[in-house]
């Protein structure tokens, strides 16, 4: 009888483990799609894209929508939940001519077909996923799209502007050139810089560059407005950029504290410097008491909250002046704010945390347990065999 029990246990453990292995996590539907999901229109162009949907508990309906969807055929319109073949093709056959130029998105949608028998509870869920194929249809004549980039810099450093120009017109352009006007934080025009001059072929792109000398400019946020001239036509784009200095601003801070409690005193700070600032901390003086935050670093232009703790035991309710001093690189920023101490509010009951055991963790634990049992039994068995041999001798 005793010999059967371990066998049964082993069988039970094996079945349990096998059932755990066979449980395959199934998520809501998603779509895998190719990264090169853009095409340029050409009359009569035919192209096939390969897509696939992820496993799903429910059947998945496939559809296509958007301008030009009439020129698309899907190899499947329904994928059953239990089908292992999750791939499908999107076949595009474009017409000889498209009336509307532009960037047209063809939306491919995978929608879960809601099966109420598979949805538990009073509120269940389902998911849909949509991806697109982008078809660029060139405009007649000369047409461009542009974008200006203006990087943030340190004080007295030059700003390198870049103007990216893409031709989406059927005709080549002989000359593209941009003028970039720079405006101060007070919106006064300070300077104009010019890019070089280049030709631009149909359906290609170029980048134009210009440099701004910022010597004498004070720290702040500036505005750059680029006007692109392409064979007599114009287009504009604008961007803001920062010229920085080693400075940290206090953006916000905690203004209300509860009595008889250790309160968090948060101070939100922002770096006005384009490099990392190390060793930043704050001392806060409240009614002859000084509290201090831990030291931290600030990335370029970073906003961060630093925290000190204020023990308000034996502190009376009322208003107090808090002098906050931020220390960094031999500099300080000081601000005095008004804070209040109020009666303790009713404590919120925290929900107990639930420690989840993932399947992987469970499997690892079971493996370790089985290996330990095996090792013990092997040693025991060897021991008993040796004993038997000795007895025989």
């Amino acid at each position: 009888m005793m010999a059967i029990k371990p066998k049964r246990t082993a069988l039970f453990v094996s079945l349990l483990v096998l059932s755990l292995i066979l449980i395959k996590p199934v998520y809501a539907v998603g779509i895998y799609f190719p990264n090169d999901n853009e095409i340029d229109f050409k009359p009569g162009l035919e192209k096939t894209f390969n897509f696939a949907v992820t496993p799903s508990n429910m059947d998945v309906k496939l559809s296509v929508s958007g301008y030009l969807s009439e020129y698309v055929t899907l190899s499947k319109t329904l994928i059953r939940f239990n089908s292992t073949d999750r791939a499908f093709k999107v076949m595009i056959k474009l017409p000889e001519k498209i009336e509307n130029p532009g960037h047209h998105k063809l939306w491919i949608a995978a929608e879960e077909v809601i099966d109420e028998s598979k949805i538990g509870g009073n509120i269940g869920t389902s998911c849909n996923a949509m991806v697109y194929i982008l078809i660029h249809v060139l405009n007649p004549g000369k047409y461009v799209e542009m974008s200006l980039s203006a990087p943030d810099v340190e004080i007295n450093e030059p700003v390198n502007f870049a103007v990216n120009v893409k031709s989406f017109g059927e005709e080549d352009i002989n000359s593209i050139k941009a003028a970039i006007d720079v405006y101060s934080p007070n919106n006064e025009k300070l300077a104009t810089v010019y890019t070089d001059d280049k030709p631009l072929k149909s359906n290609t792109e170029e980048t134009l560059y210009a440099q701004l000398d910022t010597k004498g400019y004070s720290a702040g946020t500036y505005r750059a407005v680029a006007e692109l001239n392409y064979d007599g036509k114009t287009k504009q784009d604008e961007k803001k950029f920062k010229i920085g200095e080693l400075n940290i601003k206090i953006i916000n801070y905690t203004k209300e504290f509860e009595k008889d409690k250790i309160n968090k005193f948060d101070i939100e700070i922002e770096s006005g410097w384009g490099n990392k600032i190390e060793d930043v901390y704050s001392k806060i003086k409240i009614d002859d008491e000084v509290i201090e935050t831990p030291r931290t670093g600030l990335s370029p232009w970073e906003k961060k909250t630093i925290t000190a703790y204020w023990d308000t035991n034996n502190v009376e309710t009322g208003f107090y002046d808090a002098e906050m001093t931020i220390y960094y690189n031999d500099k300080t920023t000081v601000e005095t704010g008004r804070v209040s101490v109020v009666e303790k509010k009713e404590a919120l009951v925290e929900k107990p945390g639930v420690m989840g055991l993932s399947m992987t963790t469970m499997l690892i634990l079971i493996i370790i347990l089985l290996i330990i049992i095996d090792i013990i039994w092997i040693f025991k068995k060897r021991g008993s065999e040796r004993k038997q041999k000795r007895r025989k001798k």
Partner: protein
């Protein structure tokens, strides 16, 4: 204690091997969610190697907490309605027997692309619970901070259940992010059940994710 037979030991060893193999398979299966359809190693000149790698894009959101179940219950005698929600450890004051729910629906962007996100409900309150006096609402909040930087709704503001799509995350700020540290939203649901409502009630929240 009786000796363990060789057969038992063999079974246990096989079980251990099966578990190890199973664990490996599961790990590989999970890794397979990141599809790599083409991995090419090209060996050229001595000491030179080139690896071409294409990672397929995936748009996928998934409810990791996918049901809210208050079970069955009734409105207390003498009251017109009772209210149930997905975030309170006690059931509504006028409700009896329902099971309180303390966790809303949790939606995670498990793909590798940022997406825009719309929410639709299968039924409005009248179709879901009862033609008159019923209420069905949901709200959204960032479970991981910054999951939806350009959130289109005020976090925590109640939305009426409707079969028309409500934009939750638009492309402003990147949409509903795929970054593991900030890719999870919470949806709480609130229902008001009139005393006249009877029978089994269910509704479905559908999350639609579109590539940006």
């Amino acid at each position: 204690m009786e000796e363990i037979s060789n057969k038992t030991l063999a079974i246990l060893l096989i079980a251990a091997i099966v578990i190890s193999l199973g664990g490996t398979l599961i790990s590989l299966n999970r890794l397979a969610r990141i599809r790599i359809p083409m991995i090419t190693g090209l060996y050229g000149e001595p000491y030179e190697a080139e690896i071409a790698l294409t990672i397929t894009a995936l748009v996928q959101v998934n409810f990791t907490t996918d049901t809210i179940n208050w079970g069955s219950g009734t409105v207390k005698t003498g009251y017109d309605f009772c209210v149930l929600n997905s975030y309170d450890s006690s059931i509504g004051a006028n409700c009896t027997d329902f099971t309180p729910q303390t966790a809303g629906l949790v939606l995670e962007n498990i793909g590798n692309k940022n997406v825009t996100l719309n929410i639709t409900m299968q039924k409005n309150a009248a179709d879901f619970i009862y033609p008159t006096g019923a209420v069905c609402q949901w709200n959204v909040s960032n479970l991981d901070p910054g999951s939806c930087p350009g959130i289109a709704l005020t976090p925590g503001a109640w939305q009426t259940c409707a079969a028309t799509a409500v934009v939750v995350c638009n492309s402003t700020g990147g949409g509903f992010l795929a970054d593991d540290a900030s890719d999870t939203l919470n949806f709480d649901v609130l229902v008001q059940i009139p005393s006249a409502a009877v029978g089994s009630k269910s509704n479905v929240m559908t999350a639609s994710a579109a590539a940006i």
